[in-house]
């Protein structure tokens, strides 16, 4: 459990990448806390595009560069800084970082941001079931979706695309790419698709490669861990 006096940070998967919100507290403490947090979750988070929300904190160019460096060392790319103060935004622009996000979902006035900063929660105690990311589009090769909660795709997941989710993954379409469900260690996570023919499936710490099978007519299937192994079964409605 995290005591109230601990410096607050929140790490959250959003559509545009990974939103890291720095709460109130001494800046150096917050950074140390962030560094620790990122180190423990490194395998899950690495490769993400980071959006750093600094609130009304005044940060100079050098300080932003240090954060950028620290993130880069952990395989994360800083691409946007959301700041209330114009001087912080100027510093970010000098580093060629974005200072607002496209679309309304997470812009400066956005709700997503507000819920993320609510002071009393940290990522560890937040149950993944609280969040769900819904994308109504086809994920093509090269697309990566990282999200802490559940992910629902209305569309196909093509080979070369990947979804890494803390919770369950449902694909209302053909799943032919890579999906990692329960990526934070949840062995009860499931992966469902109308046509489950992935390149690879991962649930928690298990990895499965689908068997080479002759072409078949697709049926909806559900993959889950049973006796320590990932298995796929026809997706049936229980009566």
């Amino acid at each position: 459990m995290v005591a109230q006096t601990e410096p607050q940070i929140s790490i959250k998967g959003v559509r545009e990448g990974l939103l890291i919100t720095l709460g109130n507290g001494v800046y150096a403490d917050i950074l140390a806390r962030l560094e620790e947090e990122l180190t423990t979750k490194q395998t899950f988070l690495q490769g993400s595009q980071v959006i750093l929300a600094v609130g009304d904190r005044a940060l100079r160019l050098a300080e932003l560069r240090d954060v950028q460096q620290m993130l880069a060392e952990r395989g994360l790319t800083l691409w946007a800084v959301l700041a209330d103060l114009p001087e912080t935004r100027d510093a970010a622009r000098q580093l060629e970082l974005a200072t607002r996000l496209p679309g309304s979902q997470t812009d400066l006035e956005g709700n997503m941001l507000e819920t993320a900063v609510s002071p009393s929660h940290t990522p560890e105690i937040e149950p993944p079931s609280a969040n769900c990311l819904l994308l109504a589009e086809t994920l093509r090769s090269g697309r990566s979706v990282y999200y802490e909660g559940h992910v629902v795709i209305i569309g196909d997941v093509n080979p070369g695309a990947e979804i890494i989710a803390g919770g369950n993954v449902v694909v209302w379409g053909r799943l032919r790419g890579l999906v990692h469900a329960g990526a934070l260690g949840d062995e009860t996570a499931v992966i469902c698709a109308l046509d489950l023919s992935p390149t690879q499936l991962r649930i928690a710490n298990q990895i499965a490669i689908p068997p080479d099978e002759p072409a078949r007519s697709p049926i909806p299937e559900k993959a889950f861990i049973k006796q320590g192994q990932i298995i796929a079964e026809p997706w049936q409605i229980r009566k």
Partner: protein
């Protein structure tokens, strides 16, 4: 009158972007359009060779962008078609010599006097690709019926969507109908099943393309006018003009050669 900018790209190398560019530009010019082909593969130029214009190069795209010559001076007139021009790439520089906004400026100038500006994109998804796509009104993605080429094409479709360049069109190059019939090559349907974008043409594998390329003469112009690849390219050009041209029947029933020759007889 404002010309249309068409960018030919693929992601993967070696699928035939340059051949497609040369043939499409030539086919459009044969229809009486004013066409300029631009080689955006700076540092690895090829389009001039395929079009047989290598020895006429004086100025190139980088010279235009850096102000060493006027645009008109870098436009090489084709040997055979009066309304076809080429702006070659520089061989001694790299992709960073040109920026996406440079390409937009050059193309906006060309639009005023040309009907079509056809850009040959380099392979990859980096600067050279972004240069080629920045000014595009229409993107044509070239792929081969191979799993790796389709994978890269899928990535490109995603990137084009992200750039809001409108729906890209697909051109499947080097299809071998015999292999498809035996189930040893991806079919047109297999490719479309993954990519799910509009098809603008299917070019069959044809030796005459290689021969014509080595001779510096796009196959649509070569004297053996009956080649199926040449016809397929002319059809793509007509589709770009908005005509509804049926796709060539490439299914071998009583042997591919018979099939094609009977089809050719029907045409003439």
């Amino acid at each position: 009158m404002s010309g249309k900018v068409i960018t030919i790209t693929s992601g993967k190398g070696g699928v035939g972007k340059t051949t497609v560019t040369a043939n499409l530009a030539s086919a459009l010019a044969m229809m009486g359009k004013k066409v300029v082909a631009i080689d955006a593969d700076i540092g690895l130029r090829n389009l001039d060779v395929i079009m047989g214009l290598e020895n006429r190069i004086v100025y190139d795209l980088v010279d235009v962008v850096e102000g060493r010559c006027r645009l008109r001076q870098a436009m090489i007139k084709d040997k055979r078609l009066p309304e076809l021009y080429l702006i070659p790439a520089a061989q001694t520089r790299d992709k960073t010599a040109v920026s996406p906004s440079d390409m937009i400026v050059v193309c906006d100038q060309l639009r005023q006097e040309m009907d079509y500006i056809v850009i040959d994109s380099p392979a990859g998804i980096e600067r050279g690709f972004r240069n080629a796509v920045a000014p595009a009104d229409q993107v044509i993605i070239v792929t081969n019926p191979e799993v790796s080429a389709v994978r890269d094409a899928d990535r490109i479709v995603g990137l084009i969507e992200a750039e809001e360049k409108g729906p890209a069109k697909l051109l499947i190059n080097r299809l071998k109908p015999g292999l498809v019939a035996r189930g040893e090559m991806l079919s047109v349907e297999d490719v479309l099943d993954i990519l799910m974008i509009d098809l603008i043409g299917v070019i069959p594998e044809d030796e005459s393309i290689l021969i014509a390329g080595n001779q510096g003469m796009p196959v649509v112009l070569s004297s053996a006018n009956g080649t199926s690849a040449g016809q397929a390219f002319r059809n793509v050009a007509q589709r770009l003009e908005g005509q509804d041209v049926p796709f060539l029947d490439l299914t071998p029933k009583s042997g591919l050669l018979n099939r094609l020759s009977s089809w050719l007889n029907k045409q003439s």
